[in-house]
């Protein structure tokens, strides 16, 4: 069973959210659902923690938001990724792949540390 540390969850929240918004405009509840879906429940976020992250990304101009009427008539705040956000996501991807390579390199040389 996975047990991601709090700081790792925090660090991954940015690429995760940007990645989800890359797929299309979305709102808070749906983003949470999508995270659960992709991670198959491995990533346990408390729902509320998502919002400050969204607000920070918005402040940093990586995403934008707008209140819109949904199809079923509910008023929701929708988030969309910006051009700057896409660039940032690309950078994040590179960072995560890089990190993965470092870890892999380490663990393939000295398998004893891998378990």
């Amino acid at each position: 069973m996975f047990s991601f540390s709090k700081s790792l969850v925090a660090a991954s929240s940015k690429p995760l959210i940007l990645g989800i918004l890359q797929e299309g405009t979305s709102y808070g509840y749906a983003i949470i659902q999508r995270v659960k879906e992709i991670s198959q429940g491995k990533l346990e976020w408390s729902d509320g923690m998502l919002y400050p992250v969204l607000h920070r990304l918005e402040k940093e101009k990586l995403i934008t938001s707008q209140w819109m009427q949904s199809e079923e008539g509910r008023h929701r705040k929708y988030y969309a990724i910006t051009e700057l956000g896409k660039q940032s996501l690309h950078q994040e991807k590179m960072n995560w792949y890089g990190m993965q390579e470092v870890m892999e390199a380490l663990w393939s040389i000295n398998p004893s540390t891998s378990n």
């Binding site: 808070g28 729902d47 920070r56």
Partner: protein, 893 residues
Amino acid sequence: MDLEKKIKDWRKSLRKQEHFSDGFTEELEVHLRDAIEGGLDKGLSPEEAFDRAVKNLGDITAINKDERLAHISSGKSGLMVPGLLRNFLKVNRRQFRKNGLLNGINLAGLTVAFTATFFIGLFLHDELSFEHHHPNAENIYRLSYQHTSETGIVEKRAFSSGMWIDVVKDRVPSIEETMRFMQISYGYVENQATNQSFYEEGIYWSDPNFFDFLHFPLKYGNREDQLSHPSSLVVTESIAEKVFGEENPIGQSLRFVRNGIVVNFVVTGVIFDPPSNSHFQPNYIAQLEALQGIFGEAERGWITLNPAPGWVYTYIKLRDESYKAQVTQTLEEFWNNAIPERAEFMEPLLTKLTDIHFQPPIKWEIDTPITMSYIYGLIVIAAFILIIAMTNFVNLITAQASKRQKEIGLRKTLGSTRKQLRLQFFLESAGLTLFAIISALALTYLLLPEFNGLIEKRIDLFQVFSNSNLFIGFIAIVLMISFTAGAFPALYFTRKVTKSFNLNQFFKAERANTTGRNMLVILQFAVAITLIISTVTVFNQLQLINNGKLGTNREAVVGIRTTRMGDTHQIQRFRNEIENFAQVSSSTLGMHLPRLSDFGRINTRYFAPDLHNEPLYWNKFDADGDFPKTFDLEFIAGEDFREDHDLNSLIINESAARELNLAPHEAVGLILKEDSINYVYGQSDGVVIGVVRDFAYESVRKRVEPLVICANTQVNGALSVKLGPGNKQEAIAQLGKLWAEIYPGRPFEYWFLDYEFGRLYNQERRLGKLIPLFSGLAIVIALFGLFALTAYVSELRKKEIGIRKVLGCSTSGILRLLSWQYLRTILIAVFIAIPVSWWGMDYWLDNFTYRVNISLLVIGGSILFILLVSLMTVSLKSLKAANANPVESLKHE
């Protein structure tokens, strides 16, 4: 279960979270509802669905914390959020209330200073904008001439001959337009409908294009009719009101009576009173043609057909400046032909209309020119006032820094950025300044009528601001001042105070502040002392001018107009009767006094055949035997005219004797021959019977020239009556009653010579009022600042004083401690102020021929005064602090 109620309660609980914006709360609510729906879809009961949704949301306070970080940790937080502005205002209000005295003084000082500056500005604007409102003012020139005497004395004169303009206009095509007028008054105006008559001055007899040439807005009447006929008469608003009352006087008739000759007029227009920034100050304007009727048959052609200079003021509009030479050349050629005997002494003068106000006074000038040094002086005073007030402001604001350290520390702890702090203090100071400016503007508006009365001007605030450039400039200056006033404390606070916050730093910073503040106090007081010394010196100089006018008698001399009263017997009868009046001590008949810049005939050629054959170009004054007595001339040799004096008796002044290289007593008995080329009152050879001490009979700016007083006048312009002590108004009523008996139906017009002579020194009089007023204000503002500062510092040092007292320091010891701190700085200011004011005043006094000395007494007195007053100011607060029971200041910690 009521789901909606639960959601509502939950939402209410979010309100406590201060970083949740309304939008965020709503967003969370939508989320909760989605989550509940998801739960319901999975078959949970509403209650379960709600509980799970809330649980999944997580710890609300943690979210709150993250939300705050989301907004500030990015490093690009907003400089200004509405809540912060509200907070600033609140703190500002509390701050103001807490230090009410300090801030009240600060605000009052600023407001007074700005008001004073506005008034100085208005005065300067009025002076500097002279004549600019006339169409094409920059192309208008006044044509006159300068006269060089045989002895080489150059004298510029303001008038010309009425003929020159016609000659020049014919020969120089680049002259676009010309206008000339004469100012001949001293007749009376009669309104037959009401049977009232008025002696009037300021009657202009002009070419018909007066109103095309100059700008005088009309109140009633048509522009075309103004001077269309020799019987047309235009009057000013205030004259119309005086003569005709409130109604529109167009079409009313009026007659002008002079020398028994009557000219009938019909009023064709009423103009608004001329603005004060013009040397054209007519009360009545009629056609020059109409004046022909007043002169006798022989003089009829005199105005326009006499090539020699007469009393005509001539103005020409040139296409451009380069044609000036052509005009002067043409004129010189004309003189050489027409008046060859005078031409060599004359030179044409073309003075730009807009320059007339700023050149040194010339003979027969109708303007009251201002010297640029006055303008500069007022600018300096305005700058001084602003410096003092701004220094106060900065001083008092920064003095509060220490008290606000806590606030600043707290703000920093709670996450204020330095930019926000800077903004806070900037807004506070700029707001205060702006408020002061707006109050000052209101005050200026309210006090303007008083100010106008004081300086005898007609400044209209709206007129001034209707000039859009000026208005924009004004707004720009206001913003600049507010910005500067705001920027300084803002930078000061944030640099000194916010870098770090610990006690050690605090005290270090406080010490540095004190030094800086003391520097500002030094600056202020150096300025204030300079102002006091200057004011007293200016005042002394003006006193000298006042006293030197004509004799030194302080008893009021009343002038009564007797111009063209016909029969000399009647005047003699009047004189004889008033001799019996208790208050009348003497009277003298002669020229109308005073005249514009001198009186009597000037440049008469005398010879002293006993001494040498060189001509003497002296001034001659026609008077009667009672003149020296009435004006209290002081005899230094010889004697006054006797009752039955010889018509050949002469009295000369000290300067005349000096020019002959004679001691005063040696001049007595000297024979003087008058070589009169002037035609008016005949020739006389005389014997000097007395020598009087010099008195200023022309402008005191000039040296007193040699003067001959002749007692054989046939002029009866005015009767000067010297009144003894007693009620002046009663004496005048008595004179008026007698007048009415002897001259029924003739207006009794009188004036106090003291006041009339004062008019010769209009600018000096104005400045004599303005300078002490504004210097006084500056000093008061400086003292205000000192008072507030002492109050503040003794408050700040309350504990220190308490501890000192507990340890045995006496009240006087503490008083000395507190006072010495300021007296020391003021003493430094004294040493700066003395050389500055000495130099400044010496420079100013150089304008005058007769000048007071800058006395050590004045300087010493000024210093003593400022030391005493500031000591009193400081003691006022220090004494309270020193007397306070130390328990009071120490107990609460």
